[in-house]
């Protein structure tokens, strides 16, 4: 029984991390209709950025947690202004391919500059140990990462539900065309929303730095799981992305414990099952005909 609780906690910790990254993907898709393939590369930049800042400027983890998302927000704005914006009027496939190309470019540039073996990173000061409650033991960092992810998801949730900006983003996420027809210049919100989504991927990257391999390729497996998360949650559903993030984290942990070889396969089996039964995802709205 205590092993089961341990697996559950590990699943929730991973899930919070997925939820955070998927949230950015969902907001970008909802408001802009862009399936941002470069989300994995942005996550990688978050982790690589933390390692580079530590190496060249002695910026510790806590500093990176603030600086890196800001830098990625600015980078996201640049990408939106220079590239994504010009294809918004076309079929969504164009931006999907654009962000895919952008991913290859970013990954190759990072490989060229920092090699393929990865960059070193240590656990942040104060979180090296473990927390033991009853018979359970979790690493302090995992616990921190889980709480931080959940807190940030809640903060984003409050931003989205309690502010006028949030209301506009939610409305645009649900139906951008109708929102325009109600007098809101959705286009004006597009650039900051894209930057914001990218910044969230960056936060996930910073959180990953202490416990995952920091390599140029670290985003390529991650983006596949993120796509599964948003498809399960319902593309463009903000609540769906968060709930599915935790669900996928749990499925992965139970899979690792009880069906080790199939841990990843299970995620995609879940995705296939959801798509078959509810094509719009668990929290997605079915299309009006």
């Amino acid at each position: 029984m205590s092993a089961f609780i341990q697996y559950t906690l590990q699943g929730l910790a991973t899930g919070g991390f997925y939820a955070l990254a998927a949230l950015g993907l969902a907001v970008i898709f909802g408001v802009m209709g862009v399936v941002n393939f470069s989300h994995g590369a942005m996550y990688m930049l978050g982790a690589v950025g933390s390692a580079v800042l530590l190496d060249v400027a002695d910026v510790p983890f806590w500093g990176a947690l603030v600086v890196v998302p800001v830098l990625l927000f600015l980078f996201g704005i640049l990408v939106e202004r220079l590239l994504v914006r010009w294809l918004l009027a076309l079929d969504p496939l164009y931006n999907f391919l654009l962000t895919f190309g952008l991913t290859l470019l970013i990954v190759d540039l990072v490989k060229r500059r920092y090699g393929v073996s990865g960059l070193p990173y240590e656990l942040p000061a104060g979180l090296e140990g473990r927390v033991t409650i009853g018979g359970l033991s979790l690493s302090s960092y995992q616990l921190f990462a889980a709480f931080f992810s959940v807190a940030l998801c809640i903060a984003v949730w409050l931003l989205l539900t309690k502010t006028r900006i949030g209301m506009i983003v939610r409305a645009s996420t649900e139906d951008a065309e109708r929102t325009r027809a109600l007098g809101i210049n959705v286009g004006r919100w597009v650039t900051p929303v894209f930057g914001f989504g990218i910044a969230l991927a960056g936060v996930a990257g910073v959180l990953a730095a202490p416990f995952r391999a920091i390599t140029a390729d670290m985003g390529s497996n991650f983006i596949i799981i993120l796509f599964a998360v948003v498809v399960i949650g319902g593309l463009g559903s903000i609540l769906g992305a968060v709930m599915a993030g935790f669900l996928v984290g749990l499925v992965e942990a139970y899979g690792q414990a009880y069906a080790p070889s199939y841990a990843q396969v299970l995620i995609f089996v879940l995705m296939a099952a959801v798509v078959l039964v509810r094509p719009a995802g668990l929290f997605g709205r079915e299309e009006a005909s």
Partner: protein
């Protein structure tokens, strides 16, 4: 005759190669309710979407209060005072009733209804103000959809089949609301298939068949010729 607000002049619209509207010319004046009556696929919704700026593949011109709308985006048109009430009512599931009302920016401070005034007019919306918009009944959603442009202070309402799928008692309530709106000096362009309902609220009617206006007539003539006109339209 009152001041003319909306002028649609020889408007044609296309879906890819197919032409869905042919040289449609209609107009709506301040404080007037004008209908577009026609069967499914006649091009009624496309006309409303063209006026709103959502359907872009068009030829011809549309003007509001003498100013052309050509080339203006949908949100710009909304801020000039056009309020759209789509046939699916366009209620946001992720917004509460009150957020649904507050979402559109106020376009005319003097004409804008306060939330209090809206809740006075539609008490049921006050009761449900914190519910998600789509948790309302069909009739309540229709009221919410119509109240939304009133709060923004729109001068012209584009109503797309407000009576569709509603019980007769609700339909007559909706009719009363439209008459109230008109008395406030708001112009209404109403798309309807329910001819009986249309005749209870409208001043003038335009009959639309295969993308063309085949008849324009006032409400008296419409009522006296209802049966004949319906046969003509195949309804």
């Amino acid at each position: 005759m009152a001041e003319r607000l909306l002028t649609v002049d020889t408007l044609s619209a296309f879906h890819g190669e197919a032409q869905v509207l042919r040289d449609v010319s209609i107009d709506v004046s301040v404080g007037e309710v004008v209908t577009l009556v026609g069967r499914n696929g006649a091009g009624k919704t496309t006309l409303l979407r063209s006026i709103m700026g959502l359907h872009k593949n068009t030829r011809g011109s549309i003007a509001l209060d003498g100013t052309t709308l050509d080339g203006k985006s949908a949100d710009k048109r909304a801020r000039l005072g056009i309020g759209w009430v789509p046939d699916d009512r366009g209620i946001y599931a992720t917004l509460t009733v009150e957020e649904n009302l507050s979402l559109p920016p106020v376009v005319d401070k003097d004409a804008s209804w306060s939330l209090d005034r809206i809740y006075e007019q539609f008490p049921v919306l006050r009761e449900r103000r914190d519910f998600p918009g789509t948790k309302l009944s069909g009739g309540e959603q229709q009221m919410l959809a119509m109240a939304r442009p009133l709060r923004a202070g729109s001068r012209l309402l584009l109503l797309d089949e407000p009576s569709e799928g509603l019980a007769p008692v609700i339909v007559s309530q909706i009719g009363q609301i439209i008459r109230d709106i008109r008395s406030q000096g708001v112009a209404v362009l109403l798309v309807e298939q329910n001819v009986k309902f249309a005749s209870t609220v409208a001043d003038r009617h335009n009959l639309l068949a295969q993308g063309e206006v085949v008849e324009s007539l006032d409400n008296d003539a419409f009522q006296s010729r209802t049966t004949e006109l319906l046969q003509h339209l195949g309804m």
